[in-house]
Amino acid sequence: MYVGQAIRRREDDRFLLGRGSYVEDITLDDPIAHAAFVRSPHAHAAVTRVDAARAAAMPGVLAVLTGEDWTRAGNGEAEGVWPVKDMSGADARTVNRPFICVDGTVRCVGEIVAMVVAEDRHQAQDAAEAIEVDYEEKPANTLTARALDADTPLVHPAHGTNEVLVTEHGLKEETEAALAKAHHVTEVVVPTNRVTAASIEPRCYMGHHDTVNDRYTVWTTNQAPHIVRRYFTKSLNIPEHKLRVIAPDVGGGFGMKLYHYPEEALVLWGAIVSGRPVRWVGTRSECLLGDTHARDHHTVGRMGFDAEGRILGVKFETLGAFGAYESQWNASITNAYHFTMLSLAYDIPAIHTTVRAVYTNATPVDAYRGAGRPETVYQVERLIENGAHEMGIDPLELRARNLIPPEKFPYQTAIGITYDSGDPPALVEKARALANYDALRAEQAALRAEGQWMGIGICAFFDMAGAGPVKMMNDLGAKIGCYDVASVRVHPDGRITVFAGSHSHGQGHETTWSQIAADRLGCNIEHIDLVEGDTDRVPMGIGTWGSRSLSTAGMAVYTAADRVVAKSKRMAAHMLECAPEDLDLADGEFTVKGTDRKLSFAAVANASYHSGDRPPDLEIGLEETSFFDPADCTYPSAVHLCVVLVDPETCAVTLRDYWAVDDVGTVINPMVLEGQVHGGLAQGIGQALMEECAYDPESGQYLAGTFMDYAVPHAEDVPSFGLDSHFTRALGNPLGAKGAGESGTIGAPACVCNGVIDALWHLGVRQVTQPMTPKKIWRAIEDAQRAQQ
């Protein structure tokens, strides 16, 4: 069996030897031209003049294109993948993110105003700098918390409001009643900071128009190439059958590389206009500004407890950031991926939430690893943490009193979602043991007596992963079918190519999908190759996002492989003159049960293509495709526990220890699983302590445009991680797998922030907003001490 083994990754050799093939590495026979963009330097302005005459005459310039050209060419508009209606039933006040400014107004810094295509990158940049643009600045607001204030400038004045849509979920009256009768009510303002994925590979696109065959090709840093193909039908009106989208090796995605971005459409348009292949490679500044941002919810939460610390109800009012426009999936982040998980790992009888999605003059917000759930966990867990301290109950003990007991599964939450399986008390007990929790509390008390500030952070949650099924996701707003696809092609020599609609940009599918296929096919893993990321080679696909690929594409591999086995057994039975049911397939051989009669899989594969001696109703060939629509979402769960030390002199936070216990269902490769959790934790720690897409609130200027300003964690900023796991089987797919891609990022912000609050509670600190920088912690301590005087 390969499944369950820490097989070393088959994709690693090419990366380690410097032979990866990322979009920027690809060469073509024709010389590749380069694109450069003119971007708005203002948060909100009228574009009164664009003069490209001087630029167009510069050396090497092949084309200069503006919004007027876009409109004249008959190009189209963006369209949402996951639009959501307002709770009134009316359409949301949707303004999709434009590919290029076409209406004479720019609404955030970085919005594209013009494009240059030139022979080389320097010529393109020089010409872009020579384009003269006049702006008339307008009042702007970049703060989500202020978006609906009466005096806040409107991003889209035609709508008369900055509100995109309002949605309410849960039990309103029951929640109000629960809070009214509660023994204790905790209220905390719990905003989540605006962050961005910051994959180390910048976004990069290349477009090519084959005029002879009237075919188009786009190479893209993207996680879902078939979805890109679908939305080129909207941007450039290119029918799907004429467009090939290739997402080769991609250097990290994290949700941010899921969208049909402006530059992606513009690069292919530039190729069509110039008659040359055109590539754009984002600078880090362009990426930190133009990659979708994430989180940025401004939330007020109230949680009611009975005298024993049992949660009676919880209520949230949220302003959820859209930025200046609707990015393709954002409506799902403020809705389906947020409210559904508000019960976390707790048995909460009444939950109610109101989300007002709002426009600001900032970069559009969309999914980033966790997408809605880090916000949810942070909001609920910060209330639990403060509630425990206020009631004088040990924070882990208070959580234990509220966990969903294993006998309650499947468990329907008060918000309406049903978790199929899980055992939160077992996760908590493992975390307690792993961390030696009681000893930590004793250490904390001892250190506090010496004037040292140590805190213990905790959180416990469920994740909604594995999107579909198709119908459920459609009902939640998705305009795409959330299934996935795989084909298993057996070649006449018995070797196998697996084609999957998922995309690996770090997840290791070449290894893990092959582990699944090899087990089902009873073959050597070295006999399997995987193809992903090419719409001409893979029949269809929905891509890799939302911790979904194992339970959808992985299951499609499993199912297609089983179909291959069933068909090959019919051929083998014919050749061995027995019944298919009498055959075992293992180690590349069919064996007639109870005998020593054998036939190699390769011989059967060859006969499947080349022998006329076959069962009369058995079609030639040995290749099967599965479009797998899961029976349910998956619900991974986890408990995190950490130790932070806050320096009383500098207020700097040191994260000393971090433990996570995950229930991800069936594990295909424990090494890959641990790597996924490690990476997610570091990103979540970054959100808690360091990262922020900061804007100057007065000018609307972006302040985080380089890695000197946007603080991605370094190796020194994170500890080694202690991981454990607990297994309960997912019920929605035969593999029993739940997915593991986002757990770390979902839990870490809440866990770390709770740790800092736990360290500072005795000083009177009740909340520090993310990221918890030394300056903010120092100010919170000062404010608390002043209030106590």
Partner: protein
């Protein structure tokens, strides 16, 4: 702009070229020599994806002009494996799952080799401190640290 002639060695091979003086070493390696294992991740020498060895010491090839390197010896990720297979540091990264998307990996391996050459048995603390110029967004560094420690041990033999 006037072109400038420059000669140096890359992975032991003599290279003489005439370049635009503003050409960065990383672009020269990637575009002229097609050595695309060296990556650009940030443009401001924070991320270290462009790390190469310059006369045996790590250097960020996005912060060097090709014309600065007359007579120098450059080693890139393509030049560290031996005829008999991967360098011990590369093998350690594979064994300890020190990479995911692979984009920062060449820089991490080049830095790892340098750390191992300067520290006899680098501790976790030393390795984390030495990686101050390299960013990874996938691994959370946990397995990179283990890979470099193991690679250093293999290099000592």
């Amino acid at each position: 702009m006037a072109q400038v002639s420059v000669s140096f060695t890359v992975n032991g091979r003599e290279v003489t070229a005439t370049v635009d003086p503003r050409t960065l070493l990383v672009h020269f390696l990637r575009e002229e020599l097609k050595l695309t294992g060296t990556h650009v991740g940030c443009d401001t020498s924070q991320c270290g994806a462009c790390t190469v060895h310059l006369d045996g010491r790590p250097a960020k090839s996005c912060a060097l002009l090709a014309v600065q390197l007359e007579g120098c010896a450059i080693t890139t990720i393509e030049g560290v494996a031996g005829a008999d297979g991967m360098h011990p540091m590369q093998s350690a990264f594979k064994e300890h799952h020190g990479l995911q998307c692979g984009f920062c990996t060449p820089g991490m391996v080049m830095m790892g080799i340098d750390i191992a050459s300067r520290h006899d048995a680098p501790s976790e603390e030393t390795i984390r401190s030495e990686l101050e110029g390299n960013l990874c967004r996938c691994t959370g560094y946990h397995n990179i640290v283990r890979s470099i420690a193991a690679g250093a041990q293999s290099m000592r033999g």
